[in-house]
Symmetry: C2
Subunit: 250 residues, 2 copies
């Protein structure tokens, strides 16, 4: 048998997005009882230096606190680790190098899932932090599939996206949802057929205001949760098969 | 300075109740940004022997798995530990003895909070598992305050409460909510003025069906979350005061 499956969640960025991710894990896992649900250990410690400010050069790096979380999750016995925060993937290589458990990458899980869409869109709008946009992960993944990307302008980010995210972080979901709706509409008006909500605060806020275009969106946190559930189901299946064959041999 | 505040949550009983408790922690904590939110590490591993069956003598004890969770939370650096599951408090003494971090007791937090009610009810209905009812914790706490307790009958538990809880555990919130609404109405009809929802699956399900009597209920998980937030706010206050005075001394 492989190491027992235990999903480590490096959360806290922000705490509400971490809870939202846990709901997505539950929703992605078919289960008849508690015992069939995906086991996880969640490091939900939001005392982490601000990622957006660090990447803008106006604040300290969150890396030491992220490394501390990775260490704790490994000590707890995590077999796989995920980070339900797109921007924090800026430090993916350093965190991955420091972790015995493999880190599933949110962008890889997303692009892999888009590859399997029955009707591939021509133009996708990308809602993300400046740090995620600068990194270019999603743009490269999308253009690799010959999909055009519609990006927010600097003005839109400053006026709608950034204050929208910080509103979510202080629990003002409706205010955040309204600001982020404006950001989303701007991308749709510039020709995006579908939207990639590549910041984990965004889907929470858009759901809170029941944004009418939600069916046109893809949520990387959800796609990552589905990937985790898939790994758990494979493990659960082989575990139960093993337990059953053991019982039969008795 | 005291050991850094870090709330350990021994969850997984069930996984949705564990998420609900985390929402209650967020709601109980006034915060302007991520960094002010309560830090926690959540052991959400639902592969724990069924507590109701163990107490009914029809299944193995969950104690080894609970002790494992307590050990992991202590290793992760928890300064305080809570268990958002009433029934699991049957093993409170053994878990407490094995934990360096103090375990906050859900019944103590609840009774303490009821003591501070402006208008003390005369008769309170108690919705809980057979294990929690048999333990008598809430009954003793309430009669200590000269409050009469209205209990579910064995028939009601078998017909409504037990299948309602297991419905929540497999994600059928509406079905669970309807069954648990019947249990709640039976206690109200027998003269309960208020209800104590002393099983963490119950408030989740009653909220899912927007039960009209929710304002007449007390939720021990919420009262426990408020107690945790209170400890965090005291720590946060002294921590920021300390940091500020350090900065002033520079």
């Amino acid at each position: 048998m492989a190491k027992p499956f235990l999903l480590g969640v490096l959360g806290g960025m922000g705490p509400l997005a971490t809870l939202d991710f846990q709901h997505k894990l539950l929703a992605a896992t078919p289960a008849d009882n508690d015992q069939q649900q995906l086991p996880s250990v969640v490091w939900n410690v939001p005392q982490i230096a601000d990622r957006q400010k660090a990447l803008a050069g106006s604040g300290p790096s969150p890396l030491p606190q992220l490394l501390h979380g990775i260490e704790k999750l490994n000590q707890a016995g995590a077999s796989h680790i995920v980070i339900p925060c797109n921007t924090a993937h800026h430090w993916y290589d350093e965190l991955s190098a420091a972790s015995a458990a493999p880190l599933l990458h949110i962008v890889e899980a997303t692009i892999e899932s888009l590859l399997n869409l029955p009707h591939k869109p021509q133009r996708v709008g990308l809602i993300a932090t400046q740090g995620t946009l600068d990194a270019g992960w999603y743009q490269r993944g999308l253009s690799g599939q010959h999909i055009d990307v519609v990006l927010p302008t600097a003005d839109e980010l400053a006026q709608w996206f950034v204050p929208g995210c910080y509103a979510v972080k202080r629990g003002a979901l409706r205010e955040g949802g309204e600001l982020l709706t404006r950001q989303a509409r701007a991308l749709l008006e510039r020709g995006a057929e579908q939207l990639l909500l590549a910041c984990t605060e965004v889907p929470v806020a858009l759901e809170a205001v029941a944004a009418p275009f939600l069916s046109m969106t893809h949520d990387p946190a959800q796609l990552l949760a589905q990937r985790c559930a898939q790994i758990w189901l494979e493990y659960r299946h082989s575990y139960f098969a093993h337990t059953q064959s053991n019982n039969l041999n008795k």
